[in-house]
């Protein structure tokens, strides 16, 4: 994750095991909302942009309901930490760590994201 200057030429990239994977142009991301990206191995990642243009990526699948919908949740700030609330049953997940804020035993995969 890096701070991205306001420009539309930049690409959103995810850090995978074997390098940076390009998801889309930065302008496709609306501040405060997410998009879903399909990885080559079939995994899905939910990618978010906050109002300060910081980027985040976590697994797209809601571990409670099983559907791949976290990218469609509402984001927010809880005690200074960015989170997304699942659109299914509203459990919140920390966007930087993937930790569920409402159930300490649940965590989703988090990815490094950058704009480049």
């Amino acid at each position: 994750m890096t701070l991205a200057p306001e420009t539309t030429d930049l690409l959103v990239q995810l850090r995978l095991e074997d390098g940076w994977f390009t998801v889309c142009d930065l302008h496709r991301l609306t501040p405060g909302r997410g998009v879903a990206a399909l990885l080559p191995d079939g995994r899905q990642v939910a990618v978010f942009r906050d109002r300060a243009d910081r980027l985040y990526g976590i697994d797209n699948r809601d571990p409670f309901g099983g559907a791949a919908v976290l990218s469609r949740g509402l984001t927010g700030t809880h005690r200074g930490r960015p989170f997304v609330a699942s659109p299914l049953l509203k459990q919140r997940f920390d966007l930087e760590t993937g930790q569920c804020l409402d159930d300490a035993s649940v965590r989703v995969t988090a990815y490094r994201v950058r704009s480049a």
Binding site: R15, E17, G66, T77, Y111
Partner: protein, 869 residues
């Protein structure tokens, strides 16, 4: 048969009215139903019902809804209830009662609760066909039947409380109604000349004809023996097809007289202060048939309840006495507030009146003040807002000057004397005799923090309900005084309520969530990203106000897109496997075959599961995100528009088929439902809104379970508000009656905008109505009587909404930028989400649910290098 010593002692109750039922409850509470055999003889064909609310039958309450006797209660306590079988004779020697059926029941204790009978003046032809009294459900059914078939005009003899109710009912039945009152004013017992004058103007404005100061001399009948008119004492004759006698009631004490029990000079079984007959210790009398130890016969239900409790306590051997009651009353008659309390007519020596009268507004307020400044009583007509406080202050010297208590709020020296000025011993709830001190105690000692908790703890406010407003103010004041910090904030980001944020957005024309958060959010939330609670709430406020604050009318424009709940974001309803459901609007549930075929074809072509909804439309399930624009392109092309099933906004206006087809319908309910649905479609509100229109009182559209429901009458429409189905069902309250089409729409406009303005987030109209101070009365004052002077603005807001409405889906499919979000994957727009898959079921398909659980991974299966940053 008489009671034998050693056997279970028997209590026989004669009469199962409101007071009789309360007596049974009091017996049960004291465990007496377990130790005694309890037999009830009831004359009417139905068990106890709420006689006070009798008139509400004409606004749609059924006799079953008026019932006070729960069959489970009767059964659980082993009470032997005989309806339609009145007691005919009492043998006090043998201690036995004989009923009409021949049933003989021996008693150890006999309780008479026979109530009263309507007084019919002894005029010629008083029993002619077309003459009625107004006392029981059966009377109402008879009046209704006669009015429907044989009458266009009706006259009520008696301008008291029941007479006005009866006249209102006749008007509601579509008759032109007259009131004939012998006294020089209406409600002569409760109000004085000034109050009567204010009442008269208001009643006449409603279209009722009032004749005061004249007596009825004769009922005139035609050749067939049916009523054709009335001769009055001033020599005039009044043409009428129907006469209702409502000239007062008399205690029903014949049974007692026949068996030699002492009765008062003007009737009523004479009892002591334990409600026991002065002539027979085995006999009690309660309610309107009894003459209390102060020599009075009480015709109000609250003293009757107190007598029922007293008699039950006496039977249980507990201390209790009834020596007289407060006759204070507060009523809403035909929509007009009338209240009187204490020495309303100024009978005390040397007392003085303080009067405020505004004929134009139909207001009349009088206080009776003693020489030493003590408040002795008063009368309020047109505005009884201050009743709770004033009644409680009666008997003390008010802390401010008397005139400031009757001047309208906002007038120069008009004081708003809150309940905090009351002394602790002041009785706030007179139905249950609860003092202000007891209410404070509920908060300070029993840790109650809400009005419902205090109601439960003290019983205050559970009788007539007139003190609930004062109760709310007391609870809030006490909580604040005891330092309980009640955080009313919307969420962790905003310390303000939704209502306050609405006012800020409206006044400052703020169209940006970020600006609102950074300026009005809690300190530590400013500059942040908000949360999932306040973002949709603010989005809804901005959308509701969009036309007047200059925000974009489309919920997916600009920043608004980022605030919407997931459903609004895709203008569809998210289902458990990540697919969406689609609901096109079908206004009023009316749909032509061609459009039905389109829905069928779309569902078939996209492989969707279809189901008929409870709101009379069709839901299509199983659409993937990328299919939504394609589906809607077809639907919009066929003339459909968004049904807003995904939004906190108007869902449907259900309707029955109405006058056009139905043999019973009296109005065109389908037309009205369509008009309402098209008017309010797309209106963003604190929660979803449901509505229905029924074409007659049979209520096939179930309008009384809706946020706003409309029921046709022969004269127009009745408007009900605050109904709910779901987990906490609530019957809607009647807001106004017999409205024209235009009046109905105007009232709904105001009601909805007032709700949107003042409700909490996700607060349905039912909970809102229960929560806001003043409840239904306050809402009626604001939206019907415009007590806040905001109705013009509320109507203007709704006009702006109607004028700016656009179909969200039609605009979305025409906008490539908005369409770009309708993909499963930003980097593979043509690839569908593999988790969204379906399997067959009952000729259709359902989500492939096992597919969802395959995705569950243990928490420690985190990718290398992913979370350490």
């Amino acid at each position: 048969m008489t009671a034998t010593p050693g056997a279970t002692p028997t209590i026989v109750l004669v009469g199962h009215g409101m007071v009789g039922q309360r007596f049974l409850e009091a017996l049960a509470e004291r465990g007496l139903t377990a130790t005694h055999r309890v037999v009830v003889l009831c004359e009417e064909p139905r068990p106890a019902y709420d006689r006070v609310q009798l008139t509400s039958y004409f606004s749609g309450r059924t006799p079953e809804e008026l019932s006070l006797a729960d069959p489970e209660f009767i059964e659980a306590h082993g009470i032997e209830l005989h309806v339609g079988d009145p007691a005919e004779t009492v043998d006090r020697e043998a201690r036995a009662v004989t009923a009409r059926s021949g049933l003989v029941v021996g008693y150890d204790i006999l309780v008479l609760a026979t109530g009263s009978y309507p007084f019919v003046p002894p005029v010629p032809n008083k029993d002619a066909v077309g003459c009625f009294v107004y006392r029981t459900v059966e009377d109402l059914l008879a009046i209704e039947d006669y009015a429907r078939t044989r009458a266009a005009t009706g006259a009520v003899v008696g301008g008291g409380l029941l007479g006005l109710e009866a006249a209102g009912a006749l008007k509601g039945l579509g008759l032109s109604a007259h009131i004939v009152e012998f006294a020089p004013r209406l409600m002569p017992v409760q109000v004085d000349a000034g109050g009567g004058a204010a009442l008269l103007r208001t009643i006449e404005d409603m279209g009722l004809s009032v004749h005061t100061g004249v007596g009825t001399q004769e009922v005139v009948v035609g050749a067939d023996g049916a009523v054709t008119g009335m001769k009055l004492s001033d020599g005039s004759e009044l043409a009428t097809d129907l006469v209702v006698f409502s000239a007062g009631v008399r205690p029903r004490d014949q049974l007692a007289r026949d068996c030699g029990l002492a009765v008062g000079e003007r009737g009523g079984i004479t009892v002591d202060d334990r409600c026991r007959s002065v002539s027979d210790p085995h006999v009690f009398a309660i309610g309107e048939c009894a003459q209390a130890s102060d020599g009075r016969v009480y015709g109000l239900v609250a003293p009757g309840y107190e007598q029922a409790e007293t008699a039950a306590a006496a039977i249980a051997g507990n201390e209790a006495s009834f020596t007289g009651a407060d006759l204070s009353t507060k009523l809403k008659l035909l929509g007009v507030d009338v209240a009187s309390f204490g020495d309303a007519h100024g009978t005390a020596e040397d007392c003085l009146d303080v009067v405020y009268a505004d004929s134009r507004a139909g207001l009349y307020k009088k206080l009776v003040i003693g020489r030493d400044g003590t408040l002795l009583g008063g009368i309020l007509v047109g505005d009884a807002e201050a009743y709770g406080t004033l009644r409680a202050l009666t008997g003390s010297v008010p802390p401010v000057s008397p005139e400031s208590l009757v001047l309208p709020a906002g007038a120069d020296s008009g004081a708003q004397l809150g309940p905090s000025a009351l002394p602790d011993e002041a009785v706030v709830c007179s139905c249950h005799n609860v003092s202000k001190g007891a209410i404070r105690g509920a908060v300070t000692e029993h840790n109650c923090t809400t009005v419902p908790e205090v109601k439960k703890c003290t019983k205050a406010g559970t009788g007539c309900g007139s003190c609930v407003k004062v109760l709310g103010q007391l609870v809030t004041a006490e909580l604040e005084a005891s330092g309980v910090e009640v955080d009313k904030g919307l969420c962790g980001c905003f310390g303000r309520t939704r209502e306050e944020l609405y006012e800020i957005v409206r006044a400052l024309r703020l169209t940006s969530y970020r600006e609102l958060l950074d300026r009005y959010g809690r300190e530590d939330a400013r500059g942040g990203d908000g949360c999932e609670v306040c973002k949709p709430a603010v989005a809804s406020v901005i959308a509701s106000l969009a036309p007047v604050i200059g925000a974009s009318g489309h919920v997916l424009d600009g920043e608004q897109a980022a605030l919407q709940d997931s459903n609004d974001h895709f203008l569809a309803n998210l289902q458990k496997n990540g697919s969406y459901s689609v609901v096109p609007r079908i206004p009023g549930g009316e749909i032509a075959p061609e459009k039905l075929i389109v829905i069928g074809e779309v569902a078939r072509d996209f492989g969707l599961y279809t189901k008929i909804t409870g709101g009379q439309r069709i839901d299509m399930f199983g659409a993937r995100v990328e299919q939504l624009p394609l589906i809607w392109a077809r639907l919009v092309d066929a003339g459909f528009e968004s049904g807003h099933a995904y939004g906190k906004s108007l869902r449907t206006v259900k309707s029955c088929v109405g006058r056009t087809w139905c043999r019973y319908g009296v109005q065109d309910s389908v037309r009205m439902a369509i008009d309402l649905e098209l008017r309010y479609r797309g209106l963003r509100s604190p929660h979803k809104l449901k509505s229905a229109v029924s074409g007659c009182a049979r209520e096939c559209a179930e309008a009384q379970s809706k946020d706003f429901g409309v029921i046709a009458t022969s004269n127009g429409w009745n408007l009900y508000v605050g109904g709910n189905g779901g987990a906490t069902p609530r019957h809607a309250d009647l807001l106004a009656q017999d409205l024209s089409d235009a009046e109905l729409v105007r009232l709904i406009d105001r009601f909805l905008m007032f709700y949107i303005r003042t409700a909490d987030r996700l607060e349905r109209t039912s909970t809102w109505l229960e929560r806001i101070p003043g409840g239904l009365d306050h809402v009626r004052d604001v939206v019907v009587h415009d007590s806040l002077g905001i109705c013009d603005e509320l109507e203007a807001l709704m006009r702006a909404h109607v004028a700016h409405y656009r179909d969200e889906w039609a605009e979305t499919i025409d906008d490539p930028e908005k369409l770009a979000r309708f993909v499963s994957f930003v980097n593979a727009p043509d690839t569908p989400d593999p988790v969204v898959a379906f399997v067959p079921e009952r000729d259709q398909m359902k989500p492939d649910l096992p597919l969802l659980s395959i995705g569950l991974r243990p928490a420690d299966d985190v990718l290398e290098g992913s979370a350490q940053r």
